[in-house]
């Protein structure tokens, strides 16, 4: 039985296969409409979500399967103090596969220790978000035609941005990736990402605080939201929330084939005026997320 907690549990070959499968689903959706007939996906969301939860559910429905679960901790026995372990033991009696989001880091790993069915980490605190990474990789592959030889800038909250951490880990295994980390000092990438991923894999990277000065270098710009829910102190959030706002004017110096990604939701860090720019890819990501999750569900259920 296979789960997915960290994107690095998948080899690059497996990621390539998932991307190929997602592209085939996009091209031939009818071929997959009965692949998971009779199977049930449980979506356990202890933390709010729009895209991730709905894309998992849409993915399972489009595979012909069914969905059960909850969308907030308050509507589960977690509100009564039930542990993650007991919740998972219970739900794994009812479902064939579980997608789980939890505000505490490491909760999905705990789930794998107790579950009888595959667990998919749908985001654990500020730690990891492997299925967003699959979404990002599929989007990059479809836009650029490759997963190597580019410069990517990560901008915003790089400290608590779990999608950033997972994507850096995934990209560190491809050739000639240059990374520029754009953030205020307080929201720099955690030291474990620098020590365990960037330094160990000799990835060329630098940390800067100005988006404008690096914009002309970028092939991909990965914007992120400063996440209010990750701060213990609201004053810190208010001070940092408007650090970077992408506007059409800021894109004057960008490459013509830049791809702008964002895991969404956004608040104000990308002006809506950018949405019509052909370089904006964040709503493509939303759609791609469903297809790559279909491919992942099939893989973990052993469905061909």
């Amino acid at each position: 039985m296979r789960s997915l907690i960290d994107i690095l549990e998948l080899t690059t070959q497996e990621i390539d296969e998932l991307i190929d499968k997602a592209n085939d689903i996009i091209a031939n959706p009818a071929k997959y409409s009965e692949k998971c007939r009779g199977k049930k996906l449980a979506t356990l969301f202890f933390e709010p979500s729009t895209r991730t939860r709905l894309s998992f559910e849409a993915a399972m429905y489009e595979l012909g399967g069914n969905v059960l679960g909850f969308s907030e901790a308050q509507s589960s026995s977690s509100a009564k103090g039930e542990s993650v372990a007991d919740t998972i033991r219970t739900v794994s009696c009812y479902a064939d596969i579980i997608a789980m989001r939890h505000p505490k880091e490491g909760a999905p790993l705990v789930a794998t220790m107790k579950s009888r069915v595959p667990i998919i980490n749908a985001g654990d605190g500020g730690h990891n978000h492997p299925t967003q990474t699959l979404t990002d990789l599929l989007t990059i592959k479809r836009k650029k035609g490759r997963l190597n030889n580019f410069t990517i800038g990560f901008c915003g909250d790089l400290k608590f941005g779990r999608t950033v951490h997972s994507l850096i880990g995934a990209l560190s295994r491809y050739e000639n990736i240059k990374i520029i980390l754009i953030s205020p000092d307080e929201l720099r990438v955690p030291e474990y990402i620098k020590e365990e991923v960037l330094d160990k894999k000799n990835i060329e990277y630098r940390e800067v605080s100005s988006l404008d000065e690096v914009m002309p270098e970028l092939d991909i710009l990965y914007m992120t939201r400063v996440q209010k829910e990750r701060f213990f102190n609201e004053a810190d959030y208010l001070r940092l929330k408007d650090s970077y706002i992408l506007t059409p004017e800021k894109l004057f110096s960008a490459k013509a084939d830049l791809s702008i990604l964002h895991p969404l939701p956004r608040v104000n860090e990308i002006s809506v005026a950018v949405d019509d720019d052909p370089r904006a890819c964040y709503f493509d990501q939303v759609l791609n997320g469903k297809y790559v999750r279909m491919a992942l569900i099939m893989k973990l259920l052993g469905v061909r």
Partner: protein
């Protein structure tokens, strides 16, 4: 200073100078009923100075704990006055139930019955990280 050798028991040798007391505490040697000698700053040809712990009873020790605290320690098992087994301790790959994760966002901060587990991620620098959240052990 002369301390008589033990006939049966365990000698923890080559402890980093100053580290003996921490090992004594973490291994809860103060709770033993037998004789225990903690020797600080003993002369060592190899290390210059070292600490030594002698335990006058053959007890079970958690070698992973010793390896986490001080991976240079040698554990000698003494029987009838002779060393019958010598183990050079190395840093273990996994440490369970010894270190507590300090990250308030880690699942172990709220579900406290979980076993605290730390994995060795950099042997050269002796870096251990929480299995759950990847925070560095402090």
């Amino acid at each position: 200073m002369i301390l008589s050798p033990i006939d049966n028991g365990i000698v923890l040798d080559h402890i980093k100078p100053g580290g003996g007391f921490e090992l004594y505490n973490i291994l809860k040697l103060g709770e033993l009923k037998c004789q225990v000698a903690l020797i600080l700053n003993a002369t060592s040809l190899k290390m210059g100075k070292k600490d030594i712990i002698k335990i006058a009873e053959p007890i079970e020790l958690d070698l992973d704990v010793i390896g986490y605290i001080d991976p240079g320690v040698t554990v000698n098992v003494v029987k009838d006055g002779k060393v019958v087994k010598r183990t050079h301790i190395e840093a273990p790959e996994l440490v369970k139930g010894v270190i507590k994760c300090k990250n308030p966002r880690c699942i172990t901060s709220t579900e406290q019955e979980l076993v605290q587990m730390f994995k060795l991620t950099d042997r050269e620098k002796g870096v251990y990280r929480c299995m759950y959240c990847e925070s560095k052990a402090k």
